[in-house]
């Protein structure tokens, strides 16, 4: 089997100066890095106003008791102590794991298989038209505003005369009829299925674009070596589109940790706390309970978790790529 093949594509992009040689200046000869600062100015200025200052403000609020009307009162680490002992907070993070399964792991794996299937089999044997039609269909939920998705899903999952229960009734499976979003045992699972539906199109579109990089000759060679479709998929496809796999998993993981809209629109975290996520918990503390200090604490904790995940991801990715370059 052609094992070194997957990294053939990596080589072209790595003709950069070896790391650790002379201190790298700009790619434009004679231009120092300093002259480029002016291009960062508008972006960094806006970033400071819109994100960094509010973030600092939030951090300050985490050390206060603030109900939104009278000025914040400093209360040291009270919010943070409360946070670590708060069962709802830990439940919400537990549900984040479910969201990662539904928004990252399943869509990425399924997306890989479907993208390869559309590109390799459907596209090559039945024409690229039908492949792009199917790709557009898979992508549809991604362009749907979440409030509209919630309306439709409401019809489908509604306990009385909902479409799913009607279909179950029609085929004689009345016993399976259920209040899908309204009962604690199925609410989270239902949300997970919905999120897979929403997310699936994103990896498919990106992976299919990436697959155009795969050299068909590699496939032919591997086929001659007797590799079956799955072996070729594993060794060649996954290897070459790995950069995109990283982009998809990182952006989807951030989205999964921050997920808010679908929960807000579908269940509001309920029934009870069965579908609560950190983002929604923070929102409800901010705006329903007017516990602004505590809401800020949850939001800050979430930001820290997201930042750690992102940094770990990027470091891991760099290491993998550097290892490949050294080969």
């Amino acid at each position: 089997m052609a094992t070194p093949a997957p990294f053939a594509g990596t080589k072209t992009a790595s003709r950069k100066a070896p790391a650790g040689a002379a201190p790298i200046t700009s790619l434009i000869p004679g231009a120092t890095g300093r002259g480029f600062w002016i291009y960062l100015l508008p972006g960094l200025l806006l970033l400071t106003i819109i994100v960094l200052i509010p973030l600092g403000w939030n951090l300050y609020l985490t050390f206060t008791s603030y109900r939104g009307i009278r000025p914040p009162v400093w209360n040291n680490f009270e919010n943070w102590t409360k946070l670590f002992g708060d069962d709802v907070f830990w439940t919400s993070f537990g549900n984040s794991v479910a969201m990662i399964v539904a928004m990252v792991i399943v869509p990425t794996l399924l997306g890989l298989v479907l993208a390869a299937m559309l590109f390799d089999l459907v596209g090559k044997k039945f024409g690229s038209r039908i492949a792009s039609f199917l790709r557009a269909t898979y992508y549809l939920p991604q362009i749907l505003p979440v409030v509209i998705a919630a309306i439709v899903i409401g019809w489908i999952l509604r306990p009385e005369n909902g479409a799913l229960n009607q279909v179950l009734g029609a085929v004689g499976l009345e016993s399976l009829q259920h209040n899908w979003l309204g009962s604690p045992d199925t609410a989270l699972a239902s949300i997970m299925v919905i999120m897979v539906w929403v997310q699936l199109g994103y990896p498919i579109v990106i992976f299919m674009a990436a697959l155009q990089r795969v050299d068909p000759e590699l496939y032919e060679a591997a086929e001659l070596d007797g590799a079956n479709w799955f072996q070729r998929f594993q060794a060649i496809t996954v290897g070459i589109i790995r950069p995109e796999i990283f982009v998809v998993t990182l952006t989807c993981t951030i989205a999964a940790l921050k997920v808010f809209g679908p929960i807000y629109a579908l269940t509001r975290g309920g029934p009870g706390t069965s579908t609560i996520v950190p983002s929604y918990y923070s929102y409800s503390e901010f705006f329903q309970n007017q516990q602004v200090g505590y809401g800020a604490t949850i939001a800050t904790a979430l930001t820290v978790v997201v930042a750690i995940v992102a940094i770990v991801f990027i470091t891991f990715q760099t290491r993998l790529e550097r290892r490949d370059e050294e080969r």
């Binding site: 790298i24 890095g33 044997k125 979440v146 409030v147 439709v152």
Partner: protein, 299 residues
Amino acid sequence: MSTLTEKLRPVRAAAPRPPKLPTVHTRKSAGDWVILVVAILIGFFIAVPFLMILINSFKSPADYNSSGPLTLPTNLYFDGIVNFWTRVNFPEKLWNSILISTVVAVAAVGISMFNAFAIGIGRVRGRTWIVVLVLLANMVPQEALLYPLYYMFKQVGLYDNVWAVIIIFTVIQSAFGTYLLASVYGTFPKELLEAASLDGASRWQILWRVVYPISRPTLSVLLIFFFIWTWNEFLIPLTFLVSNANQTVPVAISVLQGDRLMDVTTTSASALLGLLPTLIFFLIFQRTLTRGITAGAVK
């Protein structure tokens, strides 16, 4: 510390080889047909909710009540659509959404390009941390921004003004754009930059005459993503655009949801009208999008 572009190199230029388009129809085995049928079935199940919106938008409430959401309408009924259109003053909401999404998409692509030019090509000092800092805009949960931004925009008189939302989303969307473009620009062909510089081009000229035209495919993909993402945003428009005349399409739909006078078919019509603009936009730009976020940096 190694260069940022090595750290963030996930999105690499497409291989120089033009993709061979497989137009040759080879022999199809039974297995191929099975896979095609499976792919179509999956597509069907994904599309079911959309089909439901479509059939229920043209049904009368009586028709819906007697036969439920799954049957075809007995006769075409347009009152739901007309109702919704006039109730929310749809053209006004449509204009708000188009204005916000278009300005955000263009401005965010511009900011991303400037940032990425300095980071990926200019390789300014501390670029790794600059990218992490910029990415914070993408990592912060939006509800954390609401209180501070509410006070800030109220101070400068931009509360309940579409420009507040435009500024906020320009920053949020350009975080992703900076991350992506910086890595694409990090692998920009050095020869081109050297040639331009030998011809005496300034940084500004290099950006507009060399970098911008060559990276246009990537920029247009970003533009499409930003437009659709901004269009679908909900929480920030809901809190910052309180007066009816400033609302966006998704906000107008969700506000009507709580209305007791809304019957199911009007709701369905609202969903149909709400998703049509992005659907049309997507269909027009489909080809650009699928050229991929990675395409076009290096030819």
